[in-house]
């Protein structure tokens, strides 16, 4: 009661302090650090650059500032040597609780102010893909919840030590731990959440859930620690243990502390987001499981029911096997480690099964014993929160009413040790989704709606032929484009419509596919008639299978489309990114060697130049491409570190890497296209170069090393490296 009576007085006193307002003002300003200095989210989506980074930086700076304010405020009476008097008037325990509440209220006010100030700034920077939900969640979770953590940690440190200097050192060390040693440990980095990317076009609930989990775990932990420190507040002239012994007489106090610490420990241990996959990615023991003797695969089907509100999946899978061995056989499945398997039956009878604790490549091993009958129908149910493997790149298992991607064992248990039957692995998948979502199998299969349900959902069905399979679904727009003699189905997020329209995406796709198909040949993963180009949620790269290819949304952000290094405008950068389907995905390149300009970018930029030349004329192409390359290459050769590499070698590794990466980019994006242009002149012109590139694109691949090398390019041109020197 006394606390509640004192709280308004304490809050008013706190808000009358100039230091409080200075701390609040600095905290409100601190997101600017995320724009210029501290950028933990490495992706180039607009939300990563202009929302995640400022919010995380604001959270980290704000937590530190409020922590220091908390120490300053708690030490005020002692510093002024009036603590003996104030303690005589009000119990130090009551004072501590009141001060904590006042500080937390000031933190809430500051978070609100920060959001008000940064709302228009963020909206302006992010552009058409800005949404209020993302903004609110980012500032609440990435920034807002950091402030109470800072206050609790600092206040606890002071209450334990009762010395401002010592508690500042402890608090700063605790912050430094999060920013350095724990920065890649998603559950431990309490100050700076592990967020590498936020999607512009699709939802980010998975990432936000993960951050909220981490924050609440720490909130419980630090509230518990604070409560213990509260019990240690010195009273009646006693020391730390005497005061503790006195405070614990009211049993509910230590009980609350213990309950909070236990909650935190449980939350830490039982986190549902990340699996325990073997970190050694060279181990692939699941692929070494011997095939079940005499068992062949006939067909399978699955009914999948994603819960887009909870982010969970429920499903029923059914498998038909032929068992000619005359014995019971153990069938192995890969399942997502977040799923629980139940109700496993063979021909209507319960059969034993085990799920391994060992996990590998985001899969746990489910082993089911099937009976010694010739025809076996195995059914099972699975449900749970799909887990992912990479804690520093979370978000891949996003599941909401805007987007989902269910890959292999996350879609339904994947058979691992059964030989395919005559028809291979015939599969029928049915998935029930909200009406706003389109189901897109990542293959040549087409999904169709088989029922419209009363709850506003639709059930989609598609046939495939694989033991696994990937399904994308989301609030997509599909553009059908006739180009290169085939139908391109171009899927992109509805939120990206304005950006895509501005960049002339449809025209770019048509121009690229027509040009590249005519000059270099058809994509090997196109089925001949159709090709799906699917813009995915930010994933750090793309991949392709027969009939479908993935485009990472990060390549199509407004910022990337404005990158002059890749093209003269948004439409041309769009062309550049699409050309990567031929040079980069259709023909792969090995990891970039920092000493060589050879990479997928050289041929991609050159091809972009050729397409632009065809579209807008030679003068335009020369001005916006060749002249720009020349200028950049001239600058590159004059660069001090290029002329004096010994100084580059003197630099620490990080600085060296940053500079050589930047120089390497110039070489890849400017020097290499110029070299290819020179090669074009040396081999006899554009037609001859087109023929060479056509032959290279369609060459027979070595499965052990399928990459296109610089030497292969030089050999095809009958040139040497020296011939292409630009000096």
């Amino acid at each position: 009661m006394k606390t509640m009576r004192l709280f308004p007085l304490e809050l008013r006193r706190l808000l009358q302090s100039r230091l409080t307002w200075l701390i609040m003002a600095l905290t409100v300003l601190s997101p600017v650090l995320g724009l210029v200095l501290y950028k933990p989210a490495t992706s180039t989506t607009m939300l990563s650059m202009y929302l995640a980074n400022p919010a995380i930086a604001g959270g980290a700076a704000g937590a530190i500032l409020f922590g220091l304010l908390a120490i300053f405020e708690l030490d005020r009476a002692r510093r002024s040597r009036v603590d003996i008097l104030t303690d005589a008037v009000v119990s130090p325990l009551t004072t501590a609780l009141t001060r904590l509440l006042a500080l937390l209220t000031a933190a809430v006010l500051t978070a609100g102010l920060t959001m008000l100030v940064w709302l228009p700034i963020s909206a302006g920077l992010i552009g058409s893909v800005f949404t209020g939900v993302n903004f609110l969640l980012a500032y609440l979770l990435l920034m807002g919840l950091a402030l109470p953590l800072g206050i609790l940690a600092a206040a606890a440190a002071y209450q334990f030590t009762r010395r401002a200097d010592l508690s500042i050192v402890l608090f700063i060390a605790f912050c430094a731990l999060s920013l350095t040693v724990w920065s890649a440990e998603w559950q431990l980095c309490w100050l700076n959440p592990c967020v590498w990317a936020l999607s512009d076009d699709f939802s980010n609930f998975r990432v936000f859930r993960s951050v909220a989990w981490m924050r609440l775990t720490w909130l419980a932990a630090l509230a518990g620690v604070w409560t213990v420190s509260y019990l240690c507040i010195r009273q009646y002239g006693k020391g730390i243990f005497g005061s503790l012994a006195r405070s614990v007489r009211r049993i509910y106090r230590p009980a609350v502390a213990l309950a909070l610490l236990a909650c935190s420990g449980t939350a830490y241990a039982a986190q549902p987001f990340i699996d325990n996959s073997n970190p050694d990615l060279t181990v692939m023991s699941f692929y070494e499981i011997p095939y079940a003797e005499g068992v062949t695969f006939l067909s399978r089907s699955a009914q999948v029911f994603p819960d887009t509100d909870a982010g969970t999946v429920t499903g029923r899978a059914s498998y038909q096997f032929q068992n000619t061995s005359g014995q019971e056989q153990s069938i192995s499945f890969g399942i997502n480690p977040g799923y629980t398997i139940s109700n496993v039956q063979a021909n209507g009878t319960d059969v034993p099964f085990t799920v391994s604790d060992y996990q590998e490549y985001n899969e746990a091993l489910l082993e089911v014993t099937i009976p010694a009958e010739e025809e076996v129908e195995l059914t099972m149910e699975y449900s749970g929160f799909p887990q992912e493997s990479m804690p520093t790149m979370q978000g891949g298992k996003e599941l909401s009413s805007e987007y989902l991607c269910l890959e292999n064992s996350a879609l339904s248990p994947r058979v691992m040790n059964v030989m395919p039957g005559e028809a291979g692995y015939p599969t029928t998948i049915e998935i029930t989704l909200p009406a706003s979502m389109i189901a897109i199998p990542f293959s040549s299969s087409e999904a169709e709606v088989i029922s419209e349900n009363a709850d506003g959902t639709r059930t989609w069905r598609y046939e495939a032929n694989s033991a696994g399979g990937i399904l994308y679904a989301g609030d997509y727009i599909c553009e059908q484009i006739e180009a290169g003699g085939m139908t391109i189905e171009f899927y992109y997020g509805r939120k990206h419509q304005a950006v895509m329209a501005e960049a002339g995406a449809v025209d770019a796709v048509k121009a690229v596919v027509d040009y590249c198909t005519e000059h270099y040949g058809k994509l090997s993963y196109g089925t001949g008639d159709t090709l799906k180009l699917i813009q995915s949620r930010v994933a750090g790269g793309g991949y392709a299978v027969d009939g479908a290819s993935l485009l990472d949304e990060a390549d199509f952000t407004a910022a990337n489309l404005g990158d002059v290094q890749k093209g003269g405008g948004a439409g041309e950068v769009m062309i550049h990114e699409l050309v990567h389907q031929w040079w980069g995905l259709g023909n792969m390149f090995d990891t970039v060697d920092s000493t060589s300009p050879w990479s997928a970018e050289g041929l991609t930029v050159y091809t972009t130049y050729r397409i632009v030349k065809e579209l807008y004329g030679e003068d335009y192409a020369r001005e916006h491409y060749v002249d720009q390359w020349q200028q950049a290459v001239d600058d590159y050769y004059l660069n001090y570190y290029v002329r004096h590499p010994e100084y580059l070698e003197m630099l620490p590794e990080n600085e060296q890497l940053a500079i050589s990466n930047s120089l390497s980019q110039v070489r890849q994006y400017n020097e290499m296209p110029l070299k290819i242009l020179k090669a074009e002149q040396l081999v006899g012109g554009e037609e001859a170069m087109d023929q060479i590139l056509h032959d290279l694109f369609n060459r027979e691949l070595d499965p052990m090393y399928p990459y296109l090398t610089y030497q292969e390019f030089l050999d095809a041109c009958h040139l040497t490296e020296e011939d292409l020197n630009l000096g």
């Binding site: 600058d635 004059l638 660069n639 001090y640 100084y647 003197m650 630099l651 620490p652 600085e655 500079i659």
Partner: protein, 248 residues
């Protein structure tokens, strides 16, 4: 006089504000050195006078603000309220102004030296480069005129209206946004990035065109003249500084 100077220096430099300013300056300096200067400007070495000059130009807005903040110790309403007591000291007002300006300039110079020392440490640690003598000229022509002008103009503006000093702090940012002619290129740092490219040689020695030198001299002289006016405006104890200055 020496005693008062030491007292004023201690008042200006031995407080949380100076330490905070120095910390901010050092942090910003580290950021500039690691993000910009390390790359070198105009194809020159990171430790060339041109790159160093560019670094100082980038630090200049903070140094300018620091210098003007020192002046707020003397021009703030609180300081003016206590002037009636301090003016009662047995010392000619002009000398007192001189001492205070010298203390503020000392503060500015110390901050500048801090920036230069940080750069020197950076060059030594990163490149094992220690020929600091070649950096004195760019430091002198960049910093001295600007700091003296900040002192003179800031003092006068602060005497007229204390809040004008805060408005004056925005000047370097305004200059950075403007496209100035080459002669005034040192005022926003564009000189260091543009001029070496016009010399037609790689790694050119540091040279100052006559026009740039004249502009800097002009700035220095203007600063000294403004200080002169400030000294003249100083009044004996009991008089009103503002009123006298306006009457003149």
């Amino acid at each position: 006089m020496g005693k008062i100077f030491r007292y004023e220096c201690r008042r200006l430099l031995w407080n949380k504000f100076f330490i905070g300013l120095a910390v901010v300056l050092l942090l910003y300096g580290a950021f500039v050195l690691h993000a910009v200067t390390i790359l070198g400007v105009a194809h020159t070495a990171p430790f060339s006078p041109w790159s160093f000059g560019d670094y100082l130009s980038r630090m200049m807005p903070l140094l300018w603000i620091g210098m003007l903040f020192f002046l707020t110790f003397y021009t703030s309403p609180q300081a003016r309220r206590t002037a009636i007591l301090t003016d009662a000291a047995p010392m000619p007002p002009k000398q007192y102004v001189l001492v205070r300006c010298a203390a503020a300039l000392t503060g500015g110079v110390l901050l500048s030296l801090l920036c230069m020392a940080e750069a020197a440490v950076f060059y030594g640690r990163m490149f094992r480069w220690y020929s600091w003598g070649s950096l004195l000229l760019p430091a002198l022509v960049t910093l001295l005129p600007a700091l003296v002008f900040a002192l003179g103009s800031g003092w006068l503006l602060g005497r007229l209206r204390p809040w004008l000093v805060y408005v004056w702090m925005a000047v370097p940012f305004l200059l950075a946004a403007l496209s100035l002619p080459e002669a005034f290129g040192l005022w926003n740092g564009s000189f260091f990035t543009a001029h070496p490219l016009t010399l037609g040689v790689l790694d050119p020695d540091f040279v100052l065109p006559a026009a740039v030198l004249a502009a800097q001299l002009l700035l220095l002289i203007a600063g000294i003249l403004l200080l002169q006016i400030a000294f003249r405006a100083a009044v004996p104890p009991g008089g009103s500084i503002t009123r006298r200055a306006v009457r003149r």
